[in-house]
Structures are given as C-alpha cells and as structure tokens.
C-alpha cells in the first residue's frame, strides 16, 4: 500500500509542477530585466509601472469587465424569470428549457460566434452593432452553467413549497419569489455568476471573431501588442491572471462557506 502511494505522490508532484511552471515562469519573467541565461540578470518593476500607467490597457480591462458582467447579469435575470414560471406555472416546460440550455455546450465557441456574425453582420438591425452582438453571444455562451446553477439552487430551497406558504400568508407568487426565493438563493447564484464571469473575461476566440477591431478588451490589447517586449507582455498577462485568481478565490471561499452553512442547517 505504501509503495503505491509513493507512485501516486510522484505523479501528483509531476502534474502539479507541469501546471504551475508556466505560471511561475511568466510571473518571474514579468519582473526580469533581461533573461537569456539560466537565471534572469536583474529584477525590475518597470514593466508593471509601464502597464499601470498605460491608459489603453486599463480601458481594455474596464471594457472586458463590462462585456463580461452585462451578459452574466442579463442571463441570470432571464433564466431566473423563466425558471420561476417553469416551477410555479408550467412544470412540463422544464424539459424543453433544459434542452435549450444544453445545446450551447455543443454549439460552442467559434461555431456560435461565426453563425451569429454571419446572420446579423450586414442586417442593418440593432443586432448588427458588434457590441450588442458580442453581449448576446456571451449570454448564450454562459447559458448552460447559469441554468444548471440556478436550477440546483432553486430546487435546493424547495421554491414551490415556500411560495405556497407565502401565498397562504397573502403574498403574491411573484412578490414572494422576488422577496423570499431570490435572496435565499443569491449566495449560490453569485458563485456561478462569478465563475461564468471569469470564463467570459478570459475569452479570446469569440471576441476576436465578432468584435476584434471595434471593441478592444484587455485580451485583444495583449494580442495586438504581443510582438512588443515579452516582459511587458508577461506583466500584462500576470495582471489579468491575478484578477481571475482573485475572482476564483472569492468563489472558493463562498462555496466553502455555503456548504458549511448547509451542513449546519441539516444538522
């Protein structure tokens, strides 16, 4: 048994090394003045100073946050409304709704982006605006995960029962939903929302196809400047990574708190 654990440990170590190495090297590189030998020659903060004083990079990050946050919020609201109607009024529709929400896992990334682009690009409607197109494509993109998250939370708090109780006490169904159910499931929703947000924030494929030239986010900014200094560039990558890492950390903490709370409630 002991010998087997040894093999397992070695394997875990190798994979962890493989996973961490690119992160670490990029991190060191962003501080390195010149690195052409085994060790970098000197360390410097210049590239971070440069990045932090670069208005374009900041504007890119802000645009990226905007383009990722809006779709996440919209999708959450849309799915919440629809699932409310499903649970309270039309339980039979759930199958079809689930189907709609699972399809984007197959038609993902570039197929979605190119099909939306070719449908609406020259259409002269409001959808031919690239930013609206991008936001709507992102909405579809985060549909599967959002649906799954909201559905699980709504069933976990037993929405139907609670709403029945609320209506006996005289609250309308929708009023009860907004005042009781939504606050109850909110912590769970925030977690899925943050996860999808991080996913969208890190997207390059869809934005490259739909709105690369019209809407410059941090990702497209980095892409455009990829041939400049590698160090400056690593600094940009590190800043983006730290941002996603922070989001990840919050999700992790929240999830841990949530499961702890659930356990306590069950006890």
């Amino acid at each position: 048994m002991k010998k087997k654990n040894l093999i397992g440990n070695v394997w875990e170590f190798i994979i962890a090394l493989f996973l961490i190495l690119p992160l670490v090297v990029t991190f060191i590189y962003s501080f390195a003045g010149r690195w052409i030998s085994i060790l970098p020659e000197n360390l410097t903060f210049d590239f971070y100073k440069e990045k932090f004083s670069d208005g374009q990079f900041f504007a890119g990050i802000l645009r990226g946050i905007f383009a990722s946050a809006v779709p996440v919020i919209l999708t959450n609201v849309f799915v919440l409304l629809a699932l409310f109607a499903v649970i309270v009024y039309f339980p039979k529709v759930e199958k079809y709704m689930q189907l709609c929400c699972i399809i984007p896992t197959t038609i993902n990334g570039i197929i979605l982006a190119t099909s939306i682009l070719s449908t609406y690009a020259g259409s002269n409607t409001i959808f031919s605006n690239r930013i609206i197109m991008l936001i709507c494509a992102y909405c579809i993109f985060c549909l599967p995960l959002t649906y799954q998250g909201i559905r699980n939370s709504l069933y976990a708090v037993n929405t139907k029962r609670l709403l029945e109780a609320a209506s006996i006490l005289g609250a309308g169904e929708f009023y009860g939903f907004v005042r009781i159910i939504v606050p109850a499931v909110l912590p769970g929703l925030v977690n899925t929302a943050l996860t999808t947000f991080a996913g969208l924030f890190g997207d390059f494929a869809i934005i490259k196809i739909i709105a690369a030239s019209q809407f410059e986010t941090a990702q497209t900014y980095l892409y455009k400047n990829r041939n400049t200094d590698i160090q400056a560039f690593s600094a940009g990558v590190v800043i983006l990574l730290v941002l996603t890492m922070v989001i990840n950390l919050i999700v992790h903490k929240n999830a841990a708190k949530d499961s702890k709370r659930r356990k306590e409630e069950n006890v």
Binding site: L112, S115, S118, G202, Q219, L241
Partner: protein, 283 residues
C-alpha cells in the same frame, strides 16, 4: 386562444429567455445550415460539402483536427485518471490544496496560457535558451509552432478540466467494495478492471466527450501558434468569416456543420457506451 388569454401574463416570464434563445441560438443555427447548402447561384446545392470532401486543404484540416483531438483526449484521460485516483487517496488537506490548483489552472486558458508557453518554449523561450546553454538537445530544438509542439498546451488545458470531472466519479467507487475485494484475494489491478472502471464508465465517457469537444474547438492556441501554416478546422472556419483573404461564409458554414457533425458523432458514441454500462448497473 382561450388558453393564451388566461396564461398570457404568466407566459411573459419566458419572453426574455425565449427571445434570447430564438434570436441568438436558433436563428443563427438555421441560417448557418441554410447557408451551407447554398450554391453560388443562390439555389440549393451541396457544392460546399463536395468541395470540403474533395479538396486536400480541407481534408487535411479535418484530419489534423481529429488527430490532435483524439491524442489530447486519450493522453488527457490517462493523466487525469491517475491523478484523480491518487487524489482520492490523498489527505484532505492535500486534496483541498490540489483542488484549488486545478480550479485556478482551469481558468488559465486561451490567450494568457498560450502566451506563457511561448515565453517558456517558443523560439526565444526561457527553457529553450537555457537548454541551448547547457546543451540539453531535447528541449533546445523544441518547436512549439507545430502540431506536435502545440500538443503540450492541449494537454495542459485538458488536465484541470478532466480531473475535476473525474474526481466525483471516484467517490462513487466505495471503499467497502475495495476492502471486500481485497478480502477475497483480488489484486488492485483486477479490482479496477472488473469493478472500478466499469462502475465509473458513465463518468469516464462523459469526460471523454467533453475533452474531445474542448480540444476540437480550441481556437485561440492554434490561432496564435500556427495560424495558417497547419490546416486545422477551427482556424479554417473563422477564416471563412473574418479572414484577410477571401471570405466565403457558405463554405465556413459547411465546415462548421462538419465540425458539429464530428462532435455529435463522438458524443453519440460515448453516450451509447455510457448507456450500456448504466444498464449493466441497474440489473
């Protein structure tokens, strides 16, 4: 009509969701299918598909894409399986630490990931330069800008995803079963072949499908590394819509359908195998 009048208000809750799905999922999909069957004269034709399945460029793109996806899936699955296996035996603290690492690296994808690999293993990459200095030839001539060289990045993004999907499956294999098997003199290898893997098969197949689709549709990595020097489906598709040369949306749509066909085929096969094992379980 009566029904609509009665339930009209309630149906309004579906409106935003339905509009989104219809306008940005259904309509684009239908128009893509329609476009792929449109000939140069505007009528119905299968010329695009004929072109795809006769021209070497497209056949090569399909072949390359399937090839790298299969390898990335198989290699990813093997790595993920043993990693998840050893993680189930690890202490809780280590497991939590590892799970955080996997969660973190699962968001490390696309552009930043590819760029960091360029910093490490690109033509002027750190490891390549170091290897040249110390004369380690295996890495000194590493060519990241090729199908084989790119494979390492594909493997990288398959590890967190696959392992996170497989860990719950390992928890289904009860400890008691293993103990019972050991009591009856069953070797660990035999236990996994006869009991463990068959029980986990549905989850393994689900993971296989996800990994395959993930590798097949990966766009950012090959776009940044090889772009058009190696034919790959996602790049060819995007080029038909936003490329610098000649844009041919009809052909792009047809290529998208081919890619979708491949995904559906693989998902179908994995689902079939999944069903078979699920049936065995309920008996």
């Amino acid at each position: 009509m009566e029904y609509l009048k009665k339930n009209g208000k309630k149906l309004c809750f579906f409106l935003p969701f339905l509009l989104l799905v219809i306008l940005f999922l259904l309509v684009p999909f239908v128009s893509m299918v329609k476009q792929s069957f449109t000939g140069s004269d505007g009528g119905f034709s299968i010329a695009c598909f004929q072109e795809i399945f006769t021209k070497t460029v497209y056949l090569k793109a399909i072949k390359n894409s399937i090839w790298i996806s299969i390898w990335a899936t198989v290699a990813g699955l093997i790595v993920d399986f043993f990693l998840a296996l050893s993680l189930t035996k690890a202490t809780k603290r280590k497991k939590n630490w590892y799970l955080s690492l996997l969660n973190l690296t699962s968001t490390f994808a696309g552009l930043p990931l590819t760029l960091s690999f360029i910093t490490i293993l690109g033509t002027a990459g750190v490891f390549v330069l170091i290897s040249q200095k110390i004369g380690f030839s295996a890495l000194a001539n590493y060519n990241l800008y090729s199908l084989n060289g790119m494979f390492i990045i594909y493997l990288y993004f398959q590890i967190p995803m696959g392992t996170l999907l497989l860990i719950p499956a390992f928890e289904e294999v009860k400890k008691e079963w293993r103990e019972a098997a050991v009591l009856m003199n069953c070797s660990p290898i035999r236990f996994w072949c006869k009991i463990g893997i068959p029980v986990m098969m549905p989850a393994i197949m689900g993971t296989t499908g996800m990994l395959f689709a993930n590798a097949l549709t990966a766009y950012t990595t090959p776009y940044l590394l090889v772009n058009n020097s190696i034919a790959l489906l996602p790049i060819k598709i995007a080029d038909m819509f936003v490329g610098d040369v000649r844009q041919r949306p009809e052909l792009g749509s047809a290529l998208s359908l081919v890619m979708l066909g491949i995904i559906v085929l693989v998902l179908g096969i994995t689902n079939l195998i999944k069903r078979k094992f699920e049936k065995g379980q309920s008996k």
